[in-house]
Amino acid sequence: MSLLEINKLKTYYSTYRGYIKAVDGVSLKIRSGEALGLVGESGCGKSTLALAIMHLLPSNARIIEGSIFFDGQDISNIDEDLLRKEYRWKKMAIVFQEAMNALNPVFKIGDQITEGIITHEHMPLKEAIDRARSALSIVGLDPELLVKYPHELSGGMRQRVMIAMALSCNPNFLIADEPTTALDVLIQAQIMKLLKNLQKKLDLSMMLITHDLSIVAETCDKCAIMYAGKLVEYSDIVTIFKKPLHPYTKGLIQAFPNLRGDLKKLISIKGSPPNLLDPPSGCVFHPRCSLAKNICKERAPILVESASGHTVACHLL
């Protein structure tokens, strides 16, 4: 049974130059207890998808079409009060990209964690503080840090605070949006290990958004590749890396340097990602695809699922 099921979701930003098709017909499933890696380059709509699930889209963005089923309930146009009461933070939570900017610099860590707990769980301050303390110890921080300000913490500690905050109301679904992008290698390894352990321990379902294929390879069970607002390939993690079918997925893997094994020449994908105000006709990847045929320019490919659950959108298959 899928915990989260997204069906043909379209989320557009309206700007004075027209609609930016950030998420354009994406369908995805996440089973309970599963970790999905959502991979794509900057501007491909992966963060917009996360914000759409959480109902945190900026005012100029709107879900145009499609549905988001969470635990069997369509939450794509659910009442905001109900969502806040029942879902956000209690059932699903998000860890944002840059912990430095996501924390409020003028409030103590404790105030920021308890604010969320009190808003969603309606408990007295004293209990909320206890809850916050235990949340901090879960992520491997000293509970005494509650009285510190964000600037007194290092980057890795701030990211741990963000994770503690997201887990403070015991959600069963966690979105981690580029949780380690601004961090150094050693700290990145620590945070990813923490997330992986917590996911196992708390039986969380997780959506890990990143541009770094190697992180997904290490932490996720399933992997979805997005390009220019579309889902191009989805499968289990080993299939994606060992038998990728979509030319874009193949390109990404060949462009990624590896520290182990033999030194291979990197192959880049020509061109650069399209402008989503005016995406290319047909398959969005065709201007950069070395195998593109006439049909690719004319018709958009649909996602086809094989028996093993390997889903690809490409005319050439």
Partner: protein, 330 residues
């Protein structure tokens, strides 16, 4: 550590930045504090070689890069470029030398004037160094753009930086250094702001340029996999000091210093069937204002001995051309 056929020889380089203190505290004899960004660093770069400077943020790699170009003055130490101590040169001699030593910056979005066209950006160094007569400037610019695969160059000449993609911008930045035909380039995280699919193109371009023009690079990066792809030799920096230096493959396959091993182990592997990365070191690097006494890595090192707390470890040649600063290896 002086190499005869080296393009660049750096010895004992130090750069301390004074920490600003309040006006009042100067009356109470509060001690001057310094950030020891680069603390006694020595290395050389051979002709046609890519030398990597690898480390976490705040370890002093960018400061080293800027100091060896004399974009900032060192606190002490020497840098010999083609046999000349560049810190002893006067302004006009330095300007002449700058033609041969150039820099590529990290952020192609910030390192270009948004009001200048691509032609203006690339031709500016030609005018500054009065390289050629005005009539041939365009020719030189076009050639340089072809060298970085900005083709057809005519199409890009009159564009502004905001009309270019990140990868194209970084190509313009490289073209701007190439017009001067430099023999040494400091590349400071040239691909860290770029997307994965574009990154490989820029890295391959930089590799081709070495083959075609025979220049040397000081390649600054925090990404070990990229360092491995690009560099012949590399130095691993930690809190302003070089902890290990040698051939890149050797550093990857068989690191000596506990910090280098920890770094290598922590890099995730883009292959789900292979062994996963490991967390070997806990905690984070302390500030370089008051670095730990003795070996700077000892508070995080699992193999630390009493000696590590007391005495600084010196960079010693353990194998031929492989240097390590660790008390375990003597």
């Amino acid at each position: 550590m002086v190499e005869d056929d080296a393009v660049l020889n750096v010895s004992g380089l130090k750069k301390y930045f004074a920490v600003r203190k309040s006006y009042l505290s100067s009356f109470f004899g509060v001690k001057d504090l310094f950030i020891k960004a680069v603390d006694d660093v020595s290395f050389y770069i051979k002709r046609g070689e890519v030398f990597g400077l690898v480390g976490e943020s705040g370890c002093g790699k960018t400061t080293t890069g800027k100091t060896v170009l004399r974009l900032i003055e060192p606190t002490s130490g020497e840098t010999y470029f083609e046999g000349k101590n560049i810190y002893k040169l006067n302004k006009s001699e330095m300007r002449q030398l700058r033609r041969k030593m150039q820099m590529i910056y990290q952020d192609p979005y910030d390192s270009m004037n948004p009001r200048m066209t691509v032609f203006n950006i690339i031709s500016e160094p030609i005018y500054i160094h009065k390289l050629v007569k005005n009539q041939v400037v365009l020719e030189l610019v076009l050639q340089s753009m072809k060298n970085v695969d900005l083709v057809p160059p005519e199409e890009f000449l009159n564009r502004y930086p905001h009309e270019l993609s990140g990868g194209q911008r970084q190509r313009v930045a490289i073209a701007r250094t190439l017009v001067l035909n430099p023999s040494f380039i400091v590349a400071d995280e040239p691909v860290s702001m770029l997307d994965v699919s574009i990154r490989a193109g820029i890295l391959n371009l930089m590799k081709d340029l070495i083959e075609n023009f025979g220049m040397s690079y000081l390649f600054i990066t925090h990404d070990l996999a990229i360092a491995r792809y690009m560099c012949n030799r590399a130095a691993i920096m930690y809190l302003g000091k070089i902890v290990e230096m040698g051939s890149m493959e050797r550093l990857v396959k068989n690191p000596f210093h506990p910090y280098t091993s920890a770094l290598m182990a922590a890099v995730p592997v883009p292959d789900p069937t292979e062994e996963k990365s490991k967390v070997v070191v806990s905690g984070e690097a302390p500030t370089p204002i008051n670095p730990p006494p003795g070996c700077r890595f000892h508070p995080r090192c699992k193999q630390a001995m009493t000696m590590c707390k007391e005495r600084e470890a010196v960079l010693l040649e353990i194998e031929k051309n492989h240097y390590v600063a660790c008390h375990q290896f003597k």
